[in-house]
Each structure stands twice: as C-alpha cells, then as structure tokens.
C-alpha cells in the first residue's frame, strides 16, 4: 500500500507513518471475502483448533476426531476458528451542516475533519489487508463504493473522499436505508456525522438495521467548538446552513441557554446511539485528527 493516494490533499502519509504499525480491529466476528486477521463467523477445519464438541448426527464426518474415538469410544468433532478479513464502510454525512467551519478563518469544517479522518482510516484499514468502502449520505445514497482492498480501490476511495460536496438537506435516514440495502456482508460501518439532522429518530432506526444484521456500527459524532459555545461578540446575523432562515441576535444574551440546548442534544445523541447498540465516539474538530485517530485505534486494539 505504499503507493496509494498520493494525489489526495487529505492524505498525509508522513504524518500517518507513526500510525502504520497500528491496525483497525473489531471485537465482533465478521464476514470477509478472504482470510485475514479477524475472527470469522464461519468455523471451518483449516483454522486454529479451539475446542471439542460432541458429535451429532448429520455433521461432516471429516471433522470427527478419529483418534479420540478410537481411544475413548466417544465421538467428538474438532472445532477450528476461521479468520477472515474485515469489511469496513466509511459512511460520511454530506449534509450542509457538515460544512460549518465557525467564524474564524483558520481551522476547517467538520467535513474537512471527517475527510482527513476518513482518509487516514482508509489508509490504516488498507494496511491491515482489510477492505474499505465509501458511502456519501444525504437524503439518499449520493455516492457508494463497495468495499475493496486493492491499492487502486483505496486510491479511488480517497479521491472520492476528497471530492465530497455538501448538500443542503436535513434528513439522513434515507441515505442510510439505501446503504443498508447495498450492504451484504457483516463488517464495520463507520458513520461520520454531526447528528444535526431533523430525522434523528429515523436515522437511529436505520442504524439499528445495520446492528440487527450483525454489523458493528461506529457513530463518530463530529462537533465544532463554535457549536458547543457560540462565538464571542455583541451582534451576529446567523444564517441557517440547511435552509432554516436567518436570525439576528446577541450571542452573549443566549450563551447559557444555547450551551444547555446543545449539551442536551449531544447527550441525547449519545443515549440514542448506545441504545441502538452503536459504538459512540464524540470527536471535537479542535483536537488534531491524528491524535483523535491514534487514541481511537489504541482504544479499539484493546
């Protein structure tokens, strides 16, 4: 994978060299196309021996431990753990709210942060010989690349990530449902979003579908610092990013109420994510993405 994605501006290979020894893992058993490092849901006879189990009629006689039958007169079958590769899908929220970059000129938007993070993750996943796919979610599935593991595929994924454009929309459930229909194998879904959609319940309902199918769902909640706390200043004219109008106000007068509202919202999102069986992680764009990614990978590696 040394030759992937040199053309993407979000791919900082030198910076990611420090994370090259780390792998993106999952505790769930997955379904892969090829053999790999991850526990497969299949228990075949070529893998590592893990246990005996009493034979029952109809089972494959090739797995019967004849030697044990000869010594003891009892019939047991040998159990072996299959290992396969991981199938990851990077689902990125393409709503306009993801383009929020705050009032300061320096620093980027949530989308850029997601792009950096997704690119880096795609690189790390590909280093583990795992497959990575991409889905851009709006009201529908705006773009979808099925998982793949070739360097060319990863390069295309990165290019697609670089080319993501936001769309003014307030719904995300539709795109997730379309993605669900396109997903055939149990793997990991990494959902990059700010959860500022109006159909939050439907969105989590769609995420529950993935969980029911056996996919591990990682909800990566992106938060901009100026979303947590309104910018300093006496008067602002706030322009809604998803066609929700214009509002004049003095942030100092509503700072407390706003912070309470936003805090309540993030708490609710976390509760809903956990309730849906998703792994929830809140990411502030004020934290460098490499730092966030490193701690994330360390956490997962266990």
């Amino acid at each position: 994978m040394a030759s992937v994605a040199r053309g993407s501006r979000f791919f900082e290979q030198q910076a990611l060299a420090g994370l090259a020894h780390m792998r993106f893992t999952t505790a769930h058993r997955v379904e892969g196309s090829y053999s790999g490092r991850h526990q497969s849901r299949q228990q075949g006879g070529a893998g590592e021996f893990v246990d005996f189990r009493e034979y029952s009629g109809g089972e494959d006689l090739r797995r019967l431990d004849w030697k044990l039958l000869a010594r003891t007169g009892k019939s047991f079958v040998r159990l072996h753990q299959e290992e396969t590769n991981l199938v990851c899908t990077l689902a990125i929220d393409g709503s306009e709210s993801m383009a929020f970059a705050g009032s300061r000129t320096r620093g980027g938007s949530k989308l850029e942060y997601a792009q950096y993070l997704a690119t880096a993750l795609a690189y790390v996943i590909s280093l583990g010989q795992d497959q990575v796919g991409l889905a851009l979610l709006t009201e529908k599935l705006a773009d979808h690349m099925p998982p793949g593991s070739t360097s060319l595929h990863v390069t295309r994924v990165m290019q697609q990530i670089e080319e993501i454009k936001t769309t003014p929309t307030a719904n995300a459930a539709g795109g997730l449902r379309f993605l669900f229909e396109q997903t055939t194998r149990r793997g990991v879904l990494l959902y990059f979003t700010d959860f500022l959609m109006e159909d939050l319940d439907e969105t989590f309902a769609a995420l529950r579908l993935f969980r029911h199918r056996g996919l591990e769902v990682l909800a990566l909640h992106l938060v901009h610092p100026e979303e947590e706390s309104l910018p300093r200043g006496t008067a602002f004219r706030f322009i809604g990013m998803e066609n929700d109008g214009v509002l004049n106000c003095s942030p100092d007068e509503i700072r407390t109420q706003y912070a309470e509202k936003f805090s309540a919202h993030t708490a609710m999102v976390r509760q809903m994510a956990l309730a849906a069986g998703c792994d929830y992680r809140r990411l502030s764009t004020s934290v460098p993405y490499l730092q966030a990614l490193g701690s994330f990978l360390v956490e997962r590696s266990g």
Binding site: E96, S97, M98, A99, F100, S103, K110, D194, L196, H224, E227, L230, P231, G233, T234, A235, F236, R237, F238, I239, G240, M241, E242, D244, G245, L247, N248, C249, E253, I254, T256, Q257, Y258, E260, K261, F262, H265
Partner: protein, 705 residues
C-alpha cells in the same frame, strides 16, 4: 395638570427617548455567520423571550418613566383645573390687580415675589377673542393702566414688565373699589363674565380686613398668591424716634423698635448715626415680637438733627426695612405767648405768677425773650409766631375771631394752656374746644352763685398721672400743703369717672378736675389748669414751678412720631417761616445715604398764610428730607417704610376664600405648599422616580441570569 415651566417637561420627553435612540444609534452592526445549529439558537431566543425580553421591556419602560417623572418634577407640576376659574371662551371682563407693596420684594432665597407676580400677571393678560381686560397696579394709591377695560394686551403686559416694588403698603380697599368700578355692569344687556385676578402675597396685615363685597355679585375671583410656602424670616426696624429729654434739652432719648418676624430668637446690633455721632444698641429679640431698644444720647447743638438707624450684620427676606431714617428737633428752651388782660394792675396777678412759673428767670423787674404777653384785643395771625406754647389766663370774654385763632393753632399741632381764673372762661373753653375739635372729658361751668371755690386740695393721689406722677414718692409731701381756689365747676350731668379718664390728670376734693389735658386729632393739645393762681397758694409752696415744668414738657411733646412720615401716604407739613416758598429748597439723603443733595421730585412748597406748606402726594423714597433756607434747616422729616410691610405672615387660603370673599366664586392658588397641597405635586413625582429605580432593581434581581 399644568407645569410652571412646560419647556422643561418637553425637554424631559425628548430625554425619555434618549435610551431608545442611544440603543438604536449604538446598535452594533451584526457579523454575518453561517451556523449549523441555528435551531438551538432559535430555541434559546424563544426561551429568553419569555424571561429576559420581558425584563428588558420592564427596565426600558421604567427608565423612560423615571426620566419623564424627573422632568415633570423639575417642570413644576400643579393642578390647575380646580384652582383656576378663567375660561378660554366667551365674552369676559378681566381685571388684574397686581400688588406692588414692599412685602412683594420678599424673597424665598431665589425668586422675589414680584418676579413671580409679573409672571402670573402676564399669563392672564394674553389675547383671546371676547376678552377685555385692565391692570391695576396696587400700591398705596392703586391706579388702573387704562380708564376702562381694553384689548390692548401688549401695553398691559409692558406695564406688568415695568412694575416694580414700591416702598409702601397696599391700600387693599382702594384697589378693590377701583376694580369694582372697572367691573361694574354697563347695562342690562351687559352679560359678560366678570373676572377679578388678584396677584399678591396676601399679607395678614394688609388683607386681614379686605372688603370684597364692593365687587359686583357675579364676579369670579381668582387669587394668585406669590408668598413662599412658609413666611421667610425677616428682621426689621419698625420705628425709630429721638425725643429731647429735660427742660435743658441737653440729651435725647433714642428709641428703636426692632421686629423679629421669625421663629427664632435673634441677637441684633443697631447702629444709629445721628448728626456726627454714632451709637450702638444691642439686644436679644424674642421671636414674633417687637423689642424696644432705648439709649439716652447727648445732643450736639440745637435745631433739626437727622440720621439713620441700621441693623448690622443682618441677612433676611426684605433688606429695605433693615434701616430707617430718623429726625429730631431740639427746640431749645421753649418760647411762650400768654394771652391775658392783666398786667396793668399793681399787686400779685395770676398772669404774673403763671409767667414766672413758665419762665423762672423772669422776675418782676426783668423781661425774657422767651416770653411775650399779648392782650386779647391785639391778637392777630402774627401774635403766635415762634411760640411753642400759648398760655391763656384772665383774658376775659374772647371773641369768636380770637377763639378761632387759638383753635387754629391747636389744629396746627400747637398746645394751649388755659388757666381758668374767671367765670367767663367756661364759655371761652366751651367754644374753643368745639372750634378746635377737642373733646374735653367734662363741661366746665361757672361756680354757682353764692358758692365760693376755696381751700380745695388734691385727692386721688394713690394713682397719680402726669404731670404729678413724675414726682414719685415726694408727691404727697408736695401736694399736702397745696390749696386751690377759684376756677370753674362742672356742669351738672357731665361728671365722669376721674380715675378712669386719662384726660383728667388731677382732681380736687369737690370732684372738679384740677388739671385736664385733651388732645385733638390733629396733634394739638388743650390743657386746662382749673384754679386762680393768685388766690391759690401754689406759688407760695414752691410746687408751681416743677409742676408747670412737667406739664409744659408733656404739652410740648409731639405725638407725630417725631416727624416720621410713611412712604405712599401724603405729606402735608406746615413750616412756620416768614420766608417765601420760592426761597426754600428741599434736600434729601435718601436710600440710607449720609450725604445730602437737592431734589425737586420730593413734592412742592406752597405759600399759605404766613407760612410755607410742604405737600408731597406720594412719597416714594425713604430717607431724610429737609426744608432749607440758605442751608439752614427749617423743617425735617423722615420718610420711612410702613412697618406693616415687614411682617410677612400671610393669610391662609381658607380665610381669604371663606371669610373675606364669602359669597363669591373664589379660587385660590398658592405658590407655597401650605395653602394649596397640590403644590407638593413635584414631591410625588420625585417619589415616583425613586420607585422606578427600585422597580428596575427588583426587575434585575427577579430576572437575574
């Protein structure tokens, strides 16, 4: 409700918009910024609208209200609807009476009363259709600007602007009578509304007996008081006199009355500049009382002495009454003229005894330039020239012409001592008293035929009256050997209580008066010594000379307040001189100056029957005025402020409305707060301001974030 200074309230309205304007002008230009979490902002604003926005509106409203209330308080709010009866429509006659008496100069510390009065008067002299008006400037001689009501409001307002305080009192009744003439109906068809506006301080001394009943019955009376809320403190010299003491007249008794018209006791120092000498009197003056300060001062020379007395280091409401001019006449030893038929007979004659009693240096063989004897048949107008006292003794039957001459002298303020030596004197006295307008306490009559008045002695010596009172404890020893003979009896039915009548100074044991002193309204005095001096033993006991000395001193005392006249009241003074009026001049040192200067605005001098009369119809400047001939003072007068103007106590609204002007439609508007509680309205506005501030504080605490 109206405002004394509406422009201040207008300013307040402009100021009340200031918070809104300031907010609008200093409103920051908003920074445009896309925001992904706009719905949370909207929810926060909606939540704040229910609390903070209500707080903001409350605070803004309270602040604007506080500014308005403060402006209203400064603008002088007052309820005019119940205290103002003037209407803005219909035909009407309006007479404005403007008080310009001295008390209107009183200041409450900032604004003198006359300034407020001018403001009030101008307000009532504004043009409106159907209104005719006139202005009465009311001092001692109230005068209307126009003969009849007019529509020339401009001229009337100019007169108001020119009106100044005069050093005189207001003749309230004359002003009301003049107003009544202006308001009088011109006929049955005259149905115009009649309004009388009186602008005054309603001093108790001036208005206490005002008679409003001279006004037409349908007159509506608006009373505008310029008096401060509480009567300001005032100290004043209410009178100052200087009288010679003793027969030698080598000293004078200075008497100064200081009025303390305040609620506190005051220590005062009075400086008297009389002639070339300066004297100081000090005393503590009790509140609301007049204190008499006296001092005996030496005289310097004879003739007229003048000067002034002044309160030192006094700061009060009226400065004009802190000094007062003073004059005194040192006559020197008195000059006598005796009318008598005696003088030709040898032996002891009563006229000779009387002459020696009056002029002790006069002896049988010598004459004195202080004494002249005139026979009745030789009497004429020049007979009494230069005489301080006229004595009549044994003059026989006096003709009506001669009695008229004597009566004229009494009416001019001179004193006549009549000694009843003969029976005919009863008739002479009767006619003389009638002609001189002197009321004697009894009517004298000749002794009844067959009776003789002899060996009579004085009674009722327990309570002696002048001149006997001056003898004190030695009176009994003096009066015991005295025996009276001759004289007149009293007519039956005219007996009076001798002890209660001050005019009877001494009584004999037969009930007849021995000494009678009666004054005329013009100041002259008729004294009667009821005895035949030759038949009595008074001249033998040595009591006659001191007795006559005391009696003459009393008779020569003037009761005209030592030549003091009041500003605003006409002066008519007779100057006994043979010079013509043209050769005399009037010099004055008015306004408290010591240096004199000639003046031709202090009345006029007129020749009248061997004398010169000084006439000044309206003295308008206090000071000392001297009539001089070749720089010799023939007469001096002190023209002073009326003492009533120093007492600034005012009548309450109830007294004026309910007692003095009862029966009329009366509205009383006071500038102070006692008479009209509405004048305290500004204080309630200030309370409102404070409440608004507390309300703002409470709102901030209740909606604290």
């Amino acid at each position: 409700m109206t405002f004394s200074a509406p422009w201040i309230f207008g300013l307040g309205i402009a100021a009340a918009t200031a918070p809104v304007l300031i907010h609008w002008l200093t409103r920051p230009r908003p920074v445009k910024m896309p925001l992904s979490t706009l719905r949370f902002v909207r929810e926060a604003i909606q939540q704040r609208s229910a609390v903070d926005r209500l707080r903001d509106w409350i605070i803004l409203a309270l602040r604007c209200l506080a500014i308005l209330l403060l402006a209203a308080a400064f603008a002088g709010p007052q309820w005019t609807s119940p205290t103002n009866l003037t209407q803005d429509e219909g035909d009407a006659i309006r007479i404005v009476v403007l008080d310009v008496s001295q008390s209107m100069a009183a200041s409450d510390g900032t604004t003198p009363g006359i300034q407020r009065a001018r403001s009030f008067a101008s307000r009532y002299l504004q043009y409106r259709p159907g209104l005719k008006t006139n202005l009465i400037v009311a001092g001692a001689r109230p005068a209307a600007v126009f003969d009849n009501v007019s529509t020339n409001f401009e001229s009337l307002r100019e007169e108001v602007a020119r009106a100044e305080v005069l050093p005189e009192r207001m003749d309230v009744d004359a002003a009301l009578e003049l107003a009544a003439r202006q308001l009088a109906s011109t006929g049955e068809n005259d149905t115009r509304r009649r309004e009388l506006i009186v602008i005054s301080d309603f001093q108790r001394s001036g208005w206490g007996a005002a008679k409003f009943d001279v006004l037409p019955a349908n007159t509506e009376i608006q009373l505008e008081s310029t008096a401060p809320e509480t009567a300001p403190d005032n100290m004043a010299i209410v009178s100052a006199t200087c009288q010679p003491v003793g027969a030698q007249q080598d000293r004078m008794q200075l008497e100064v009355r200081v009025g303390n018209f305040s609620g506190n006791s005051r220590n005062v120092t009075v400086e008297a500049n009389i002639g070339e000498s300066v004297h100081r009197l000090e005393a503590s003056c009790a509140p609301r009382q007049v204190t008499l300060l006296t001092q005996e001062i030496p005289t310097s020379g004879q003739g007229w002495q003048s000067g002034q007395v002044r309160l030192l280091e006094t700061s009060d409401a009226v400065a004009a009454d802190n000094w007062r001019p003073i004059v005194a006449q040192l006559r020197g030893r008195p000059q006598y003229v005796m009318v008598s038929s005696q003088g030709n007979r040898p032996g002891i004659e009563s006229s000779r005894i009387l002459a020696c009693a009056l002029v002790p240096e006069l002896t049988t063989d010598s004459a004195s330039d202080r004494f002249r004897m005139v026979r009745p048949e030789l009497l004429d107008n020049q007979s009494f020239a230069g005489a301080d006292l006229i004595a009549v003794n044994a003059a026989g039957r006096l003709s009506p012409e001669h009695l008229g001459m004597l009566a004229q002298q009494i009416r001019r303020g001179k004193s006549v001592l009549y000694v009843t030596s003969e029976s005919i004197d009863a008739a002479n006295l009767d006619q003389l008293a009638e002609m001189a307008a002197v009321e004697l306490p009894i009517r004298f009559a000749p002794p009844r035929v067959g009776t003789s008045r002899s060996d009579l002695h004085l009674v009722s010596l327990e309570n002696p009256k002048p001149p006997l009172a001056s003898f004190g404890d030695s009176l009994t020893a003096l009066a015991e050997p005295l025996r009276f003979s001759g004289g007149l009896s009293i007519e039956a039915g005219t007996a009076t209580a001798a002890t209660s009548d001050d005019r009877i100074r001494a009584t004999l044991n037969d009930g007849t008066p021995a000494i009678v002193v009666a004054r005329s309204s013009s100041g002259g005095t008729l004294a009667v010594l009821n005895a035949d001096l030759a038949a009595s033993n008074m001249w033998k006991t040595g009591a006659l000379v001191p007795l006559m000395d005391e009696l003459v001193q009393e008779l020569l005392e003037s009761d005209d307040n030592s030549g003091t006249f009041l500003c605003g009241e006409p002066i008519v003074a007779r100057i006994e001189t043979s010079a013509a009026a043209d050769s005399l001049a009037i010099a004055t040192s008015d306004s408290g100056e010591n240096s004199a200067h000639w003046t031709d605005t202090a009345g006029k001098l007129v020749d009248e029957g061997g004398a010169v009369v000084w006439q000044w119809s309206s003295p308008d400047r206090p000071g000392v005025y001297r009539i001089e001939e070749d720089r010799n003072t023939l007469f001096a007068a002190a023209v002073a402020l009326p003492p009533e103007e120093s007492d600034l106590e005012t009548l309450s609204a109830e007294v004026v409305k309910d007692r003095l002007a009862a029966g009329y439609t009366v509205r009383f508007q006071a500038t102070g707060g006692i008479a009209n509680p509405d004048q305290n309205l500004w204080q309630w506005f200030v309370v409102g301001v404070v409440l608004c501030m507390f309300g703002e504080l409470a709102a901030l605490m209740a909606y604290r974030t």
